[in-house]
């Protein structure tokens, strides 16, 4: 494959996907609902309720030893 202008090989600019949906082989009901970003605020509200209240202390306390 000669040539130097392959910065955009075979990409499908013309195929504009919609919101994510499960592939054909996925179990039914797995598809994400359309309009995800519409309710991001309600997601954030819910997460506010489960986030550690003292973020700074929580982050500082998360100390690990190296692994592997």
């Amino acid at each position: 494959m000669p040539g130097q202008e392959h910065a955009k090989p075979q990409r499908r600019e013309d195929e504009v996907p919609d919101a994510p949906e499960a592939p054909p082989a996925a179990p039914s009901g797995a598809a994400v609902k359309e309009g995800l970003s519409d309710d991001i605020d309600s997601v954030l509200d819910e997460i506010d309720g489960v986030l550690e209240s003292n973020a700074e202390e929580f982050v500082r306390g998360f100390v690990q030893k190296g692994g592997e």
């Binding site: 910065a7 504009v16 592939p23 973020a55 030893k65 190296g66 592997e68």
Partner: protein, 506 residues
Amino acid sequence: MTVRRIMGLETEYGISVPGDPMANPMFLSGQVISVYAAAQGIRSNQSSWDYAFEDPLRDARGWQLDRLSADPSQLTDIEDPTLANVVLTNGARYYVDHAHPEYSSPEVTLPRDAVIWDRAGDAIALESVRLLASRPGQPPVNLYKNNADGKGQSYGTHENYLMPRRTAFPDIVRHLIPFFVTRQVVCGAGRVGIGVDSRGAGYQISQRADFFETEVGLETTLKRPIINTRDEPHAVADRYRRLHVIIGDANLLDVAGLLKVGTTSLVLGMIEDGHLTEDWSIRRPVAALQTVSHDPTLRATVELVDGRVMTGLDVQWLYLEAAKRWLELRGDDPEPEATTEVMTLWEDVLTRLGHDVMSCAGMLDWVTKLQLLEGFRARDGLAWDDHRLAAVDIQWADVRPEKGLVHRLRDRGRTVDLVTPEQVRAAQTTPPEDTRAWFRGSCVRRFGSEVFSASWDSVVFDVPGHASLQRVPILEPERGTRAQVGTLLEESADVTALLRGLATPD
């Protein structure tokens, strides 16, 4: 041409006690393993892993109590809980690796099964912390499926792929490095902070990229290499190589997890088949790995040795297009549906990333986490060095459904799930049917009290009435399947009958 291959995933979980950063992680990890093993009725002292047959393990058996009847408080009586190391009935290994609990999944053959038994590990981790939390006086222990603490430490999520020994290692290195440098755009888990100790403010695609220092090497904890050369096949050594991949992130989302192992297996298949002939080597690959990771807009470019300049996404397209041509050439796939699923999702995700990164929310870990973080930033005007964003990053990976943010998103239907909760639940205790994991796990389930020790390539029995231990080697990963030994395992009344049956040719 197929995605099918013997493979498995290892996860080291982050471990912490809220409010006590000085808690001993070795001891805590030992408790995590021991409490779960006890609930399963499995011995968890150090002798239960068969490191080598000739080890004088017999005298090391400290614990003879029936584990089911042991009071949980007695678990700390294990001489050294930091050596807790067990084989579970699903064929996995669950043990203390340095300062982390590690779950090494049983061997599977298909990417979807890799996801199922990987998520079974998360469910096992959850059950472990629940069991610990139920013990009176026990401080809560939390587990996190991530790979960095933001203070300079990283711990691994490793992949293992069985390859034929005849494939030349230099070919593997040459063709895999460009793939590994760039596959993070699909399977990165995302991280708040730049640099190993998150000194820089910002967001990057990969948990692990900043921790890599060299291209090829044996180490996993120092001078981490893009290609790890550890060569313990845990199988017939002159036939197989086990490629030990240390560059991946821990995935919590199914699509990213499926593509991580699926696309890697396909690329390995192309290398084995001699299908990749062009050299796509990237200049200064370690720096390129970090360049790609540090740009969530996916515009950053790397330079190939032939002079071409490409984004990470472009390089992934090279591999996908090569795989499509390979698929057209070869019609010998024993698992066409599994291969098609990976190919379809791979193309879908690359297409989406090229069009609108955020359209992969719910599919890819790093994009989904970024969407959440950007939501907080927009709503509350947070800068990237705000502690709340770092807290979101950590809590993202908490294994507890009430705290883990991925769980919260999944419950709201915001994740693309490829496997069902029922499949994950079953995989906690049931091995994959089509590998030797079936034999290993079923032996623990059926004859646990007589299983003296076990490992990837052996099960050792202590047979009543026999002075010597009886070792059954399982060096062929595709032998010991349910089809081969399922009936024998179920019909053997005891270990003696099992061993007699194994010794008798069909």
